[in-house]
């Protein structure tokens, strides 16, 4: 103890007199400034940008943007929340990063995106960028960074009345390209031909190009997908399969680099992928399948080594969750955002740094599950809405062209 009080003595002795000069942040060597700024939560980094022109310039350096991004993906994510209630079509965020100071631990609202139609849905989040889709029949797509408000409009995709389409947005770390994939299927009969189209971002002439037909039968209601290793993952059925059994479902990947579909080994449990009772997720960078089991419990299978069948293990068995409070029944949600609770009322969002699993219950409540104690905890933050869609996001100042530096090692990339 003595030497500690000595230390305090030293402080007083050492700091007699005044510092010789006031050094301005922008005059410090860039390396130091970037080191400081990359430790900040995204909220503080955005605020830095608005202090003055010199500080704004600092935040535009691609070196800072990528080192901040790399710091953020080591941290707990920033959630993007899309809600229709109480105000229609609002985007909010909640930064769960440990760097966030107490008074920033609240749900905050973004101003409306510039030049965006008043109605939109969020397709997904990747490397700090959101992909949004405007209303039918134009179905225009937008890439949007809510923290910088940078926005890019992509060509729309009109549709025949008997067709419907799903979009996915992702990034491949080796080609360093962002791509949007579009699957166009028949509304009534999924045995009919399903077309696949690709749009590559960053090319001067971004247009949709067809890459042929889906070599599988599209599963209409399987609304959960996962993005791992530069590949999208869906659950499909074998082509031309008419009689569907609980073990017919296939785990299929689409590689954003070679643009090929490929079957991925599925968990040993035969019914693990069954439609309506399971959903895909990404846990700690690994592909996972969460399925409803007996008594409304959830079993989570995780593929520890990508594409290795034997590495699928049943890692978590989560008991039934009871929500302790009454849910607000007066929530008004447009059908646009209303996604049925396929795969059960609890949706797996991601693994947190403390080993807990972040879950979303009925689009109403954020819940963490502690696998060690087997207990749930409702997460409550000031400003939380009563109904919202959640997207696991990396709060970043990144844009399409900064991706070359940030290698896309993000373990959270996930699409609704």
């Amino acid at each position: 103890m003595e030497s500690i009080s000595d230390g305090v003595q030293d402080k007083i002795k050492l700091r007699e007199g005044t510092p010789t000069r006031t050094i301005k942040m922008e005059c410090l060597p860039h390396e130091i400034v970037f080191n400081i700024l990359s430790r900040l939560p995204i909220t503080s980094l955005v605020k830095i940008k608005f202090v003055c022109r010199a500080w704004c310039d600092l935040t535009l350096h691609s070196h800072l943007i990528s080192s901040h991004f790399l710091h953020q993906i080591e941290n707990d994510p920033c959630l993007i929340l899309h809600s229709d209630h109480p105000i229609r079509n609002q985007i909010y965020f909640l930064d769960l990063s440990a760097d966030v100071s107490e008074n920033d631990k609240r749900v905050k609202q973004f101003s409306a995106p510039p030049a965006m139609p008043p109605e939109f849905v969020i397709i997904g989040s990747c490397n700090g960028l959101l992909c949004l889709k405007g209303p039918s029949p134009w179905n225009k797509l937008y890439i949007y960074n809510p923290f910088t408000r940078d926005q890019l409009e992509l060509p729309g995709s009109t549709l025949d009345s008997d067709k419907d389409q799903v979009f996915e947005f992702g990034f491949h770390p080796s080609t360093k390209e962002y791509k949007v994939i579009k699957i166009v299927y028949d509304k009534i009969d999924t045995l009919k031909v399903t077309n696949v189209h690709i749009l590559t971002l960053g090319r001067s002439s971004s247009t949709w190009r067809s890459i042929g037909n889906l070599p599988y039968r599209f599963v209409h209601h399987y609304s959960r997908k996962a993005f791992v290793n530069g590949r999208f993952h869906w659950v499909f059925l074998p082509q031309n399969l008419v009689k569907i059994r609980h073990d017919s479902f296939l785990l299929v990947s689409f590689d954003l680099a070679d643009e090929k579909f490929q079957e991925v080994p599925k968990p040993a449990c035969p019914g693990a992928l069954e439609e309506g009772i399971s959903h895909l997720a990404v846990l700690g960078g690994c592909l996972a399948v969460a399925g409803l089991a007996l008594h409304a419990s959830i079993e989570i299978y995780v593929m520890k080594n990508y594409n290795v069948k034997e590495s699928w293990i049943k890692e978590y068995s989560i008991g039934r969750y009871y929500f302790g409070r009454d849910l607000d029944e007066n929530v008004v949600v447009s059908s646009r955002l209303l996604i049925p609770y396929l795969g059960g009322p609890l949706r797996v969002l991601c693994l947190l740094k403390n080993g807990e699993i972040l879950l979303h219950y009925m689009h109403r409540v954020l819940v963490t599950y502690n696998p060690k104690s087997g207990s749930f905890k409702d997460l409550s933050f000031p400003g939380m809405m009563s109904w919202f869609q959640t997207f696991v996001h990396v709060g970043s100042l990144s844009w399409i062209d900064t991706a070359t530096a940030a290698t896309g090692t993000c373990t959270y990339c996930q699409v609704e």
Binding site: T18, R39, K47, A54, S111
Partner: protein, 172 residues
């Protein structure tokens, strides 16, 4: 730096105390410090000079004042192996450097940052960058401007647009 001070200091360079060699460091404002080589080589820059046999006369520490250099030496003394009995005690001692309570602390930390950068002292650099980051966290844009004595140089129209488009960033 006055020539008299340099000449005076160089005569005392490269002395030894027992078996430990002493190095002579001279601050920008002419203050001279004698520091054990084993301690001063926590600076990667000084270690490089010692290894290249360039540390035989007075080492000028440009851009670092005597006041700051004294703090740096204090840091070295505490971080010498065996100086503090345990990690916890060291962390507690370091906490005086890693919290910025007022503008005087802020300028001290800035001075230390410049010194840690010039002398290449990774532990001190890490402590000070973390201190500045902690001081920024939780502050609104307006509070940052106040704390760092910065006047917004955006024109009125730009400032209005920033506030309107990023309302969340200006609220506390």
């Amino acid at each position: 730096m006055s020539t008299a001070a340099t000449a005076d200091a160089s005569s005392s360079g490269d002395t030894t105390e027992g078996s430990v060699r002493l190095l002579t460091l001279q601050s920008e404002d002419g203050e001279v410090f004698e520091v054990k080589e084993t301690i001063a080589t926590q600076s990667v820059t000084i270690k490089g000079m010692v290894d290249d046999d360039c540390a035989t006369s007075t080492i000028p520490v440009c851009n670092v004042t005597g006041r700051t250099l004294a703090m740096v030496i204090e840091w070295w003394n505490k971080h010498e192996i065996g100086a503090v009995s345990n990690e916890k005690e060291l962390k507690e001692w370091e906490s005086q450097f890693d919290t910025i309570d007022d503008k005087s602390d802020r300028d001290d930390v800035y001075d230390l940052l410049m010194a840690a950068n010039y002398l290449n002292i990774p532990t001190l650099l890490d402590c000070c960058t973390s201190a500045v980051a902690e001081a920024i966290k939780g502050k609104s844009t307006d509070e940052m401007r106040e704390f760092f004595d910065i006047k917004s140089d955006f024109d009125e129209k730009e400032e209005d647009a920033l506030r309107k488009e990023n309302q969340w960033a200006f609220e506390n």
